[in-house]
C-alpha cells in the first residue's frame, strides 16, 4: 500500500439493534499514515462503528473497504491486519504480561513468536514486569500492555477505543508520542476520545452524534462547519451575567472558562445585538476564534435538538 492510499473507505454504514439505529449512514475516508480522531458524546455509536470496521459486527447497510478488503465479505482478512484496543481492558488478569502477549502472538501466528514477544516487552518498557500478572497492573500499565498486544502482529490499521480514559497526563503524552511515531512509520490510527487536547493532536477528525456524522475534516474544518462566532467576556460576578445571556435567543451557548466566559451563536448580527446591552463596565468583551471545544459543545447541543 502506498502512502495517501485510502485505508478506510466506507459509505453509508448503518447498524441497527432491534428498532434502534445506532449508526446511521456514515461515510468515512482515512488515508494511510493518518491519525484520525473520532469524537462524539457517550452512546453516539463510536464503538459500534469501530466494531463494524474490524469485523466484530456486520453492518446492516452500506458498503466499503478496509485495508482494501470488503467490510461485508472479507472480515476474516481484515481481522488479520487490524489491531483493536477495546475500551475496557480486555486481556487476561490471571495471565502474566508475557503470557498475554504470547497468547495474542500465537493467535495471530506471528513469525518468530518468542523474539516478537521479547521485543514488544522491551520496546514498551515492560521488560521488568514480564512475570507480573496483568490484573495487578495500574491503569497506565494496563493500557501499555493493551497497546503492545494490539501491535504484536504488526497491523496496518490500529483501532483504539478511548484508550486514554483514566490514564494520567504524562502517560497520555507518552502514549500520543508513540502513536505519532507509529503513524510516521506508515500505520493508520483511528482513535476515539473525549479529550479536546487529544482531538487537536489528530490529523483529521470526525464528530458523530446519535449515529450521525455531523462534521469532519481538520480541526479548522470542524470548527468552521460548526459555524460559530464566539465572544469572550471577562469581569466580576460572571455567574450573575450567565442567566441573562442565556435568555437571549441568538446566544446559543454560554460556557465558563475559568475567569472568562465564552458566548457563542451562529447568527453573527443577532449575537452582537444580544450582547450589546452588557457591553458596559466592568465587563470586557472581545471576539475570539471558536475553539474545538466550543464547536463540539455546539454540535452536541444542536444534534440533541434534532432528536427532541
Amino acid at each position: 500500500m502506498k502512502r495517501d492510499e485510502l485505508v478506510i473507505d466506507v459509505e453509508g454504514v448503518t447498524k441497527r439493534f432491534g428498532t434502534r439505529t445506532v449508526v446511521q449512514g456514515i461515510n468515512m475516508q482515512v488515508r494511510r499514515g493518518e491519525i484520525y480522531g473520532f469524537l462524539g458524546p457517550n452512546g453516539s455509536g463510536k464503538t459500534t462503528f469501530l466494531r463494524m470496521l474490524c469485523g466484530l459486527l456486520r453492518p446492516d447497510g452500506g458498503h466499503g473497504h478496509c485495508l482494501g478488503f470488503d467490510i461485508l465479505t472479507e472480515a476474516a482478512a481484515i481481522k488479520e491486519r487490524v489491531g483493536y484496543m477495546t475500551q475496557r481492558f480486555s486481556y487476561y488478569a490471571d495471565l502474566s504480561l508475557e503470557e498475554n502477549l504470547d497468547f495474542v502472538a500465537r493467535i495471530f501466528g506471528v513469525p518468530k513468536r518468542r523474539e516478537a514477544v521479547q521485543q514488544s516487552l522491551e520496546k514498551l518498557g515492560l521488560g521488568g514486569r514480564r512475570k507480573q500478572l496483568a490484573g495487578q497492573l495500574s491503569g497506565g500499565w494496563k493500557q501499555r500492555l493493551a497497546l503492545a498486544a494490539s501491535l504484536i502482529h504488526s497491523p496496518q490499521l490500529l483501532l483504539l477505543d478511548e484508550p486514554t480514559a483514566g490514564v494520567d497526563p504524562k502517560a497520555r503524552r507518552d502514549f500520543w508520542s508513540e502513536l505519532h511515531q507509529l503513524a510516521a512509520d506508515g500505520m493508520t490510527v483511528l482513535i476515539t476520545t473525549h479529550y479536546m487536547d487529544e482531538a487537536e493532536r489528530c490529523h483529521r477528525l470526525a464528530y458523530i452524534s446519535y449515529g450521525k456524522l455531523l462534521a469532519s475534516g481538520t480541526v479548522e474544518d470542524v470548527v468552521r462547519q460548526a459555524g460559530f462566532e464566539t465572544w469572550e467576556v471577562t469581569g466580576p460576578e460572571l455567574n450573575d451575567l450567565m442567566p441573562k445571556l442565556q435568555a437571549a435567543a441568538a446566544i446559543e451557548q454560554v460556557v465558563p472558562f475559568g475567569r472568562a466566559m465564552h458566548v457563542s451563536g451562529k447568527d453573527s448580527a443577532g449575537l452582537q445585538a444580544a450582547i450589546a446591552p452588557f457591553q458596559v463596565d466592568p465587563y470586557r468583551w472581545r471576539p475570539v476564534p471558536s475553539s474545538l471545544e466550543d464547536a463540539f459543545i455546539g454540535l452536541m447541543g444542536s444534534s440533541e435538538d434534532n432528536f427532541a
Binding site: 465479505t73 482478512a77 487490524v82 481492558f89 500465537r106
Partner: protein, 379 residues
C-alpha cells in the same frame, strides 16, 4: 464470509492459555480433584441401602425358651441391636416416638404356652417406618428368620408344630452383586455424578467468564473463530474429566474392591462420549447465561434432576412413568447403566449401545441449540 479451515494453531493457543489459567486458579483446580475425593468419601463410605444394627427395644411378658430363641435369632441376623427393655407399653411408645429405637418387639403373655398348644400366638413388631428405606430390609429379613429359628427348637414331639415347607422351593440368585454391596452400585455411579457436576459447571463458567470480563470481544476481534475458541477451551477440561474418572476408578478398585469385569477400553471410550455431552451442555448454558452466577444456577438446575431421576439415588424403576421419561433424557441415566453394565455385568458394546445412542442424540440437540445461540450473541 469466506470459509477457511479451522486452525489448529489457534486452537492450541487457546488451549495453552486455558491450561495456564486453570493451573493458576488453585481453588478451582483443587475443587476439580477435591470434589471426586469428597464425594467418594461421602457416598462411598457413608451410604448404605442395607442398614444393620438398628436399635430395638423389647417389651416382654414371657421369658420362656421360645422367646429367647427368637431374640437370639434376631440378634444374629445383625439387623437388630437390642438396646434395652421397655417395662410398659407407654414407655415403649415413648421410645419409638422419640426416635430412640427403630423397633419394639412385643412378646405377649403366654407366648410359649400358646405356641406349644398350637394356637399361633401373635408376635408384634412395631417399627418406626417414617423412613421406609431404613426399616424395609430388616423387616423382610425378620419374616424369614422367624421360621428358621423355631424349626430348630420344634423337634421331637414338638415337630408337628414346626412350620411346613411351602409347596414351592424358592431359589433366589442375586446375580452381579451377590452380597448386595451398596458400594458396587454407588461407586461406579459416582463417576457419572462427579463428571456431570464438574464438567457442566466448569465449562459454563469458563466461557461466561470471557464475556463477563470483556475478553471475548477482544478474542473475537482477532482471526480466532468461535469454533476454535470453543474447542481450545474445552480440551483441557476433557483431560480434567479423565483425571476425575481415573481417580474414581482407582478408588473403586483399591478401596471398595468393585469388580471390573468388562473392557476398560470400552469404558474409557464411552466416558469421552459422556464428557462431551456435559461439555456441550455447559457451552450451551454459557450462551444463555448473562454472567457467571446465572451459569452456576443453570448448572445446578440441571444437576438436581440428574442426581435424583437418573437412578443414582433411587431405583429408576420405582419412579412413575413421567419421571422415568425425564430420566431417559438425562445423559447420566444412560451413563449409569453403561458403567454399571460394563463393570459389574461385563457388558460389551452390543449390550450398552441402547444407552449410547440416546447420549449421542442429546449431544446433537444441545450442540445445535448452542451453536444457534452463539451465532446470535456475536451480533
Amino acid at each position: 464470509m469466506k470459509l477457511h479451515a479451522i486452525s489448529l494453531r489457534r486452537i492450541w493457543a487457546v488451549f495453552i492459555k486455558e491450561f495456564i489459567q486453570m493451573r493458576r486458579d488453585r481453588l478451582t483446580f483443587g475443587m476439580m480433584v477435591g470434589i471426586p475425593l469428597l464425594q467418594l468419601t461421602l457416598f462411598g463410605f457413608a451410604i448404605n441401602s442395607d442398614p444393620k444394627h438398628l436399635p430395638t427395644a423389647i417389651l416382654s411378658a414371657d421369658h420362656g425358651p421360645f422367646a429367647r430363641t427368637l431374640i437370639a435369632a434376631m440378634r444374629s441376623s445383625q439387623y437388630f441391636h437390642f438396646t434395652g427393655v421397655a417395662p410398659t407399653e407407654e414407655e415403649a411408645d415413648t421410645l419409638l416416638k422419640n426416635g430412640e429405637v427403630q423397633f419394639v418387639l412385643h412378646i405377649p403373655e403366654d407366648f410359649s404356652r400358646k405356641l406349644l398348644r398350637g394356637e399361633r400366638p401373635d408376635l408384634l413388631v412395631e417399627a418406626d417406618a417414617t423412613d421406609p428405606a431404613a426399616t424395609g430390609p430388616a423387616l423382610s429379613a425378620l419374616a424369614q428368620l422367624m421360621d428358621g429359628a423355631l424349626r430348630r427348637d420344634l423337634h421331637g414331639p414338638l415337630a408337628y408344630l414346626s412350620p411346613k415347607p411351602g409347596p414351592v422351593q424358592l431359589v433366589l440368585h442375586r446375580r452381579y452383586n451377590e452380597e448386595g454391596i451398596t458400594q458396587y452400585n454407588i461407586v461406579p455411579g459416582l463417576m457419572g455424578v462427579v463428571l456431570t457436576m464438574t464438567m457442566v459447571v466448569i465449562t459454563s463458567l469458563a466461557i461466561t467468564r470471557e464475556s463477563e470480563r470483556g475478553t471475548m470481544e477482544n478474542l473475537l476481534s482477532t482471526p480466532a473463530r468461535p469454533s476454535e475458541v470453543m474447542i481450545g477451551k474445552i480440551l483441557p477440561y476433557i483431560a480434567v474429566g479423565y483425571i476425575q474418572a481415573g481417580l474414581i476408578l482407582l478408588a473403586a478398585h483399591f478401596l471398595f474392591h468393585v469388580p471390573m469385569l468388562g473392557s476398560l477400553v470400552l469404558l474409557m471410550t464411552l466416558i469421552l462420549v459422556f464428557i462431551t455431552a456435559n461439555l456441550a451442555l455447559g457451552i450451551t448454558f454459557s450462551t444463555v447465561a448473562q454472567n457467571q452466577l446465572q451459569a452456576m444456577q443453570m448448572s445446578f438446575f440441571f444437576f438436581l434432576p440428574s442426581i435424583l431421576l437418573s437412578g443414582f439415588m433411587f431405583p429408576f424403576r420405582g419412579m412413575p412413568e413421567w419421571a422415568q421419561w425425564i430420566g431417559e433424557v438425562l445423559p447420566l441415566t444412560h451413563f449409569l447403566r453403561m458403567v454399571r453394565g460394563i463393570l459389574l455385568k461385563s457388558n460389551g458394546m452390543a449390550e450398552v449401545w441402547p444407552n449410547v445412542w440416546p447420549i449421542l442424540v442429546f449431544i446433537l440437540v444441545v450442540m445445535l441449540v448452542g451453536i444457534k445461540r452463539f451465532r446470535r450473541t456475536l451480533d
